[in-house]
């Protein structure tokens, strides 16, 4: 449904998105995941035709975003990070305007507006001015705006940001309910959200694509953290080399140790293999003390591992709190 090939977007002096390639199948719900400033909004803006890419090709439903923007725009519903609402309008007038703007025939406009309001549960505030609505209602009106023309593709930029926990759960249910008829891409930096809604995850960091995989696969990755003490008999480099020699180990990354004298690494095995026993044996045979082995099974840890822990840590903490 959506095909992005070699997409780059450069602003005056920095690269926001750097050579990203991914595709999304019809009916999928895809989470677009990355820390703030990773390039999520920029990518979404290119997908919706809001801004042209510096390089690369984007097609939605077979239409090129840049060459046939009209066709693409008819098939996309877009909720920007700040819902594009006119505060002086009433909900029903606003949605009627959007429906007309999206090219819905006059005879169908009223019907579509009613449906969208019902789906997004804003039917109880139809005649209220948008400026008088609470944040949660505004977000839902924003969502109603995105689905009013029944688009094939829904692009939602941080649809749950700024909502209270109850509203977050409601919005997630709403989005899940929309899948099937619509292909959904939603961006977020909240990991539990991806686990809760999405089937597939696209992780980007600093404008680069880090990983595209299903949520299931990511959680089942054979990756773990190992902490050991060599009692001064070997340094970090020697230990890493030793670990890398173990059969089926694909990647070893240094990790900052919590206690001095200990060395810590992230070890990743080839898909489908469990390398933990072999690694443990290798460590013991080398005469080092194996202190801890812990597999990173939550998406959160996978994410931190993939995007670099330092800058993401505080955010994932708040994300965890929001889940409560």
């Amino acid at each position: 449904m959506i095909q992005v090939t070699g997409l780059s977007k450069k602003y005056a002096n920095y690269v926001a998105v750097d050579n990203i390639t991914f595709s999304v199948d019809k009916g999928d719900i895809v989470g677009f995941l990355g820390p703030n400033g990773a390039g999520k909004t920029t990518t979404m803006r290119v997908l919706t035709g809001f801004m042209p890419p510096t390089a690369g090709k984007v097609t939605v439903g077979g239409y090129d975003v840049f060459e046939q923007p009209f066709e693409v725009k008819k098939h996309i519903g877009y909720l920007p990070e700040a819902p594009p609402l006119y505060p002086e309008m009433s909900v029903v007038d606003y949605l009627t305007f959007v429906a007309r703007l999206k090219g819905i025939p006059n005879a169908e406009v009223a019907d579509r507006v009613q449906q969208a309001m019902k789906k997004c549960s804003v039917a109880d505030v139809t005649t209220k001015l948008i400026s008088k609505l609470s944040k949660g209602y505004r977000q839902r009106v924003g969502l109603a705006q995105a689905i009013v023309h029944n688009p094939d593709v829904l692009i939602l930029d941080e649809p749950t940001s700024g909502l209270d926990p109850k509203q977050i759960l409601e919005t997630r249910d709403l989005i899940k309910g929309l899948a099937g008829d619509h292909t959904v891409i939603l961006s977020t930096h909240i990991l539990p959200e991806v686990e809760a809604i999405c089937k597939k995850v696209i992780i980007i960091n600093k404008g680069k694509l880090v990983k595209t995989d299903s949520v299931e696969n990511l959680k089942n990755r054979a990756a773990f953290m190992i902490e050991l003490n060599t009692r001064g008999s070997a340094d970090e480099v020697a230990v890493r080399q030793k670990l890398e020699q173990v059969v089926s180990v694909s990647k070893v990354v240094d990790r900052e140790s919590t206690t001095s004298g200990r060395l810590a690494f992230d070890v990743e095995g080839l898909a489908g293999s469990d390398v933990r026993p072999d690694v443990a044996r290798a460590v013991v045979q080398a005469g080092w003390n194996l202190l801890e082995m812990k597999s990173s099974t939550t998406l959160e840890e996978v994410f931190i591992e993939l995007t670099g822990a330092d800058q993401v840590a505080p955010e994932s903490v708040t994300a965890g709190e929001e889940q409560l």
């Binding site: 035709g49 809001f50 877009y78 920007p80 609402l85 006119y86 309008m89 007309r100 703007l101 090219g103």
Partner: protein, 255 residues
């Protein structure tokens, strides 16, 4: 065409549901009423004075009341028009609703024309107040109606041209006040630019004074529709809308 009307309608909705339209209408009602009363009072005074002197000069309501009134309103327009146009795009940019417009299946030109048309209609509603003032002259006198019609046409054209430029200025900023200030500065400049004519009659000065927006109103308010003036206004409208469309297009590259 439907898209233009959709956008125009929403824009008018915003004018009339917010205080802007009502503040402008009230302000304009007072100002135009004041000038209408003033120029008709002068006329009455002059008529009585000449009758006292025994002169039976046939005095024209058109020349002595309506033409100066149109002149005054043209100048008031310079002050009010930036207030109409300043929000057109600046507000959309500030609110983020510009993302909705740009990602909808409408062309930039449709957006520009829709918004400009709404601003012109808003301005026309001010002129309706003036028409009400002038209708009294028809009740108590019998002025020629043709100069009145051409005068309104002139005011409308002048307004439409300034609004096109105001729309362009509004695309350049997120801040309504900045858009209003620049618009006002430009309107003022286009008015006073022909004051240079007193300095002589060189080609440069003639070109500069041709650019002046108010001087083209004069023949309209006297009932003369000069092709030169018509072309001036139409080309100003065209240029203003062209710049607005281009600026809106470039927003995607700059945003």
């Amino acid at each position: 065409m439907r898209n233009v009307w959709t956008i125009c309608r929403r824009e008018l909705y915003s004018y009339f549901v917010s205080p802007i339209a009502w503040v402008l209408l009230t302000l304009f009602a007072f100002l135009s009423g004041w000038f209408a009363w003033l120029s008709s009072s002068y006329f009455v005074q002059d008529t009585m004075a000449s009758q006292m002197r025994g002169q039976a000069v046939p005095m024209s309501v058109n020349e002595m009341v309506i033409a100066p009134l149109f002149g005054n309103i043209a100048v008031i327009g310079l002050f009010l028009i930036p207030l109409i146009s300043m929000r057109l795009f600046a507000e959309e940019k500030r609110q983020g609703t510009i993302e909705l417009l740009i990602t909808s299946p409408v062309t930039d030109l449709e957006v520009v024309i829709g918004k400009w048309l709404a601003a012109v209609l808003m301005y026309a509603s001010l002129l309706a107040v003036l028409a009400f003032d002038i209708s009294f002259l028809f009740i108590y006198g019998s002025p020629d109606w043709k100069p009145v019609v051409s005068g309104f046409a002139g005011l409308l054209l002048q307004g439409a041209a300034l609004l096109a430029f105001g729309a362009f200025i509004s695309t350049l900023t997120k801040n309504q006040i900045v858009a209003g200030a620049i618009g006002f500065g430009l309107a003022l400049l286009l008015w006073i630019i022909n004051w240079a004519t007193s300095l002589g009659d060189s080609t440069a000065i003639r070109i500069v004074s041709y650019l002046s927006i108010v001087s083209h109103m004069e023949s309209f308010s006297r009932g003369v529709i000069d092709t030169k003036d018509l072309i001036y206004y139409l080309s100003m409208i065209f240029l203003g809308l062209f710049l607005t469309t281009r600026s809106l297009e470039s927003l995607r590259w700059r945003a």
